[in-house]
């Protein structure tokens, strides 16, 4: 029981650490790392509560959930990185003329700007 709390607590700390980093750090890569660490934290909580002491075999259901979670996290990270590389690619070339919504580029807050903290965030 102590081990469960110890490990579960570590998972929650990881979640908090990731949340703080996500809200504070601007560059995308750091946000992604933060998100992955948060995900790892939650998965860690699942694995911790699956552990039923060293005698009994652990509970397989959370293991399956975490497995699915890992694959989902990796696919989301892959898509985010692809979007980001597309963004960087777009930065040094002129904007492709063919995009159907050539509306004047209203002042868009660049994606990498600080993630407004979740309390009372107002989009400028």
């Amino acid at each position: 029981m102590i081990a469960q709390f110890l490990y579960g607590g570590a998972g929650i700390l990881l979640f908090a650490l990731g949340l703080w980093s996500l809200l504070v750090h601007a560059p995308l890569l750091r946000k992604l790392i933060a998100l992955n660490i948060m995900g790892a934290g939650v998965f860690h909580v699942f694995i911790a509560i699956a552990h039923r002491g060293d005698a009994l075999p652990p509970d397989p259901v959370p293991h399956a959930l975490v497995l699915t979670g890992i694959v989902v996290a990796v696919s989301a990270t892959a898509l985010a990185l692809a979007l980001n590389s597309r963004l960087e690619q777009g930065e040094n070339e002129p904007e492709p003329a063919s995009s159907p919504s050539p509306g004047p580029r209203i002042h868009m807050q660049p994606a990498l700007s600080t993630e407004p903290s979740s309390k009372g965030a107002t989009h400028p």
Binding site: M1, Q4, F5, G8, G9, I12, L13, F15, A16, L19, W20, L23, V24, H25, A26, V45, I49, A50, R52, L56, P57, P58, D59, P60, V61, H63, A64, L65, L67, T68, I70, V71, V72, V74, S75, A76, A78, L79, L81, A82, L83, S85, R86, Q89, T114, S117, K119
Partner: protein, 236 residues
């Protein structure tokens, strides 16, 4: 992000963490509660596999795994919809090129083993697929432009294979009266193996294609033959 704002966020997040920890502790102190473990364990023989995690993944909660393959596909389609892969692709140094010749087949072999052993020991479709994907990544790093993946049409069919076999099996079972993804007692093992093989292939190709990072180009030029180490030094 100035100092004191990040500090404020830090304090608030720390507060949240303390609350979560306290709540987590109070629930664990109550009783560990009857998890699904015991139930899952006792009905394990009926699932056709002896590894409990694979049983949950592909039998008890097969629907989750099906959708998770969908998530993987969605990510890949998103990557492909963004256009061709990045131009910044350099040829690898000789050390990696030499390593590829034996690492890739080994990875594929281990993947196959993991797939087979998944039935009764730690392993299974995802780990095997990951190894295949890793093989693709290494080939991409070693110089193959399309990470050893076949042409676009093949890639599209392979990527769809996993979820396709899964859904079709499910529908077949549903229409033959068993119910969606309810395996008949006898053939559970073989059906699971069939689905796992398809899923492994699909996951492997998807992860490799995701690493390539763009729509597969029609005819990727094969990498130039291995040059002697001297000229390789020159163009690093």
């Amino acid at each position: 992000m100035n100092r004191d704002l990040s500090l404020l966020i830090g304090i608030l997040v720390a507060l949240l963490a303390v609350v979560l920890l306290w709540v987590f502790h109070s629930t664990l102190a109550l009783d560990p509660g009857q998890r699904l473990a015991s139930l899952a364990m006792e009905r394990l023989p009926e699932t056709g596999v002896s590894n409990p995690v694979t049983a949950v993944l592909l039998n008890y909660r097969a629907y989750d795994t099906l959708l998770e393959l969908g998530v993987l596909l969605a990510a890949l389609l998103g990557i492909w919809s963004l256009g061709p892969p990045r131009p910044g692709f350099q040829r690898a140094g000789p050390a990696l090129a030499a390593m590829v010749d034996w690492v890739v087949p080994l990875a594929i072999l281990t993947g196959g083993y993991l797939l087979w052993v998944g039935g009764h020991a730690p392993g299974g479709a995802f780990q095997a697929g990951a190894l295949l994907g890793a093989a693709g990544v290494i080939m991409r790093l070693a110089g193959h432009a399309n990470a050893g993946l076949p042409s676009e049409t093949w890639q599209r069919w392979l990527v769809v294979l996993g979820a396709g076999v899964f859904t079709l099996t499910g529908l077949l079972l549903a229409f033959t009266g068993y119910g969606f993804l309810t395996y008949p007692p006898g053939q559970a093992k073989w059906l699971i193996l069939l689905i796992e093989t398809a899923a492994t292939l699909a996951i492997g190709v998807t992860l490799a294609a995701a690493y390539v990072g763009g729509r597969p180009q029609p005819t990727a030029p094969p990498p130039p033959p291995l040059v002697t180490s001297a000229s390789a030094e020159a163009d690093r």
